[in-house]
Symmetry: C2
Subunit: 359 residues, 2 copies
């Protein structure tokens, strides 16, 4: 390769628990992809998460925001520790990041890879290849609400879901484009018969945008019905677009169906260039198994592939996915001591495959 | 039996589609239970639902409310027809009924019965015996919200979830009593790390009521995680208490796990004597299979058993459940032409078992 290598500046937040382990394995794979596909990843390791918070009291700070903005993408391990109260890191860091960098879309493939054990009887990879497009900045996640007479028998807690045409439209448009590329249906998942204000906005936006994508068939399924159909007839879905809260719920169900949190990848995508996108496995920090080398890094590796695809390194992304899927098919267990290979060994194996150009 | 028979006044709303079919089968079973267990059910057939609405324009009326209030319970088939716009019957009838009669609890057993085919690989009845207690009158179902700049690029739709200590406490108390009776754990399902106002009210109510039930272990699981665990490790749960919208979602997932909508029963319980409770299978009107005798009436029959249990006819309720479960184990399919017996024949078979005292 005689031309100057393409350079991508990546911020790496390893985080807590198994976060560092799965990220280290991913970086091993990323290293192999660089030499094989002729790009360069400039990594900045950034300390953040539960341990960092416990040590410094810092969550999302203006300095961190400025530093991260200076990167093309963020690779994210996981955050969380029993010593940090629930909600602190979620609201104080993750939601701040999603909002600050306008990571409008949370993208989660629900794909059953060959050889992976799914809890769904008889499910085959051909029947389960879905992408869920979750709105990632508004809805019930805006943190709006109030409680009157708290702590008394007359307490009333009001929680608001705020949905804007702008916020919904950018996600819906993204989903249509994706469905068009995949040659699939777009399914809107909501509860419009009950949540009429939000549901009307979502449905009318889908109707409007649909006019620009005449080749994409559109469907609508209530969120409750979708939770019935997702495990029973996943072949019914191709691209699903939904709001922040419903997306949070159905993507975890999707992860269960595709064989567990160990394989599930995700992207938090900025669409307008105003900030970096973020890529993470959807599992948490799993403090119970941290430090043992039992964590499955495939979710993190596949998230790294999504990151490279986003940065235009399509060939590298494809090679990493193919290598990870190849290895996955040979794992006797999805995580734990029976996995056969340690987190680190798995990273090395996938890296080796990527480097050698096989499979 | 020489004493005067106990009399229960039941309003019967057969409704639309397969509603009348499954209700008729249930009434056959109810008839058998009456003679076998020495009570009398006085039935009032009430016309309501999609066809009634299309013919008369009437949904929930003061006259209907007065008439229904005069009954001890309501047996409900299903409502819905493609000719009625989505939301009309739900908001105009079902939610009105739940609110008017303060049907505070929506009770949904998620029980895998022996012989039933579940989509979950290797799941056994011992591992799946859960009751979901869903708040049924408030939360996101209050119909509060507003949209500004509708139909423009600046539209903003706000949807409110309203949660009162009174509404939450009565459901939580009910759930604790149920968990105590079942000797099981109580799991609160919410998303308190994000929905802090509502989540704090729910968690503090559970904490407070918990002090009165020291024998019941209490757990908390986020709704997204619950949708991961419900299909993978249902044995983790015994009684789950949750809000209206989360309950709507997780009970449909529960129905999928327990083998389909054909077996899933539910009760909409009034707890203060101010109105009748309502009992229905959780399936819809299924217009596509209506009129063919293919509908599985087991969900409706089990709902009728829940009704009788609620009215104090515990022995009859047990006998009906046992008979339905016995028959269920022998059905080759859950619904459709391969079910082996028609809706009507199934009703007759279960009735015969109830009458004969077997199994
Ligand atoms: C960590 C938390 C804020 C988050 C969410 O609720 O979005 C998580 O559950 C997820 O799905 O990414
Ligand atoms: C019919 C509709 C109002 C209803 C709900 O959303 O509660 C249904 O889905 C249910 O679960 O009973």
């Amino acid at each position: 390769m005689t031309s100057t290598a393409r350079v991508h500046r990546l911020a790496v937040i390893r985080g807590d628990g198994i976060g560092p382990e799965v990220i280290d394995a991913s970086l091993e794979v990323l290293g192999a992809a660089q030499s094989a596909f002729g790009f360069r990843a400039e990594l900045t390791q950034i300390s953040a998460g539960a341990r960092h918070y416990l040590a410094t009291g810092e969550l999302w700070t203006p300095a961190l925001q400025a530093q991260l903005r200076n990167h093309d993408a963020i690779l994210f391990g996981a955050m969380g520790d029993p010593a940090v109260a629930p909600g602190i890191l979620e609201r104080g860091f993750i939601l701040e990041m999603r909002r600050s960098f306008q990571q409008a879309v949370n993208l989660r493939p629900v794909k059953l890879y060959p050889g992976v054990t799914t809890p769904i009887a008889g499910l085959t990879p051909e029947r389960c290849d879905i992408v869920i497009v979750r709105e990632n900045t508004e809805g019930s996640y805006v943190g709006r609400g109030s409680t009157v007479h708290a702590g008394t028998p007359h307490a009333v807690a009001v929680q608001e879901s705020v949905n804007t045409r702008m916020g919904v439209e950018r996600v819906v448009e993204f989903a249509f484009r994706l469905a068009e590329r995949r040659g699939g249906t777009l399914t809107l998942c909501h509860k419009k018969n009950i949540l009429i204000e939000a549901g009307t906005l979502w449905q009318s936006t889908v109707d409007d945008v649909s006019a620009r994508f005449p080749a994409v068939p559109v469907d609508y399924v209530h969120v409750d019905a979708l939770c019935f159909y997702l495990p029973t007839t996943p072949e019914r879905f191709n691209v699903i677009v939904t709001d922040n809260l419903f997306g949070d719920i159905i993507t975890d169900l999707g992860a269960a169906i595709q064989g567990g949190l160990g394989v599930a990848a995700s992207a938090n995508l900025n669409l307008d260039g105003s900030g970096p996108s973020m890529f993470e496995a959807i599992h948490g920090s799993a403090p119970d198994i941290a430090g043992r080398g039992w964590a499955n890094p495939i979710g993190a590796v596949l998230s790294t592939a999504m990151c490279l695809a986003h940065l235009g390194e399509t060939d590298a992304a494809r090679a990493i996915e193919a290598a990870a899927v190849h290895i996955l098919a040979q794992l006797p267990a999805m995580a734990g001591p029976a996995m056969g290979l340690s987190t680190e060994e798995l990273g090395r194996e996938i890296a080796r495959l990527v480097q050698s150009g096989a499979p």
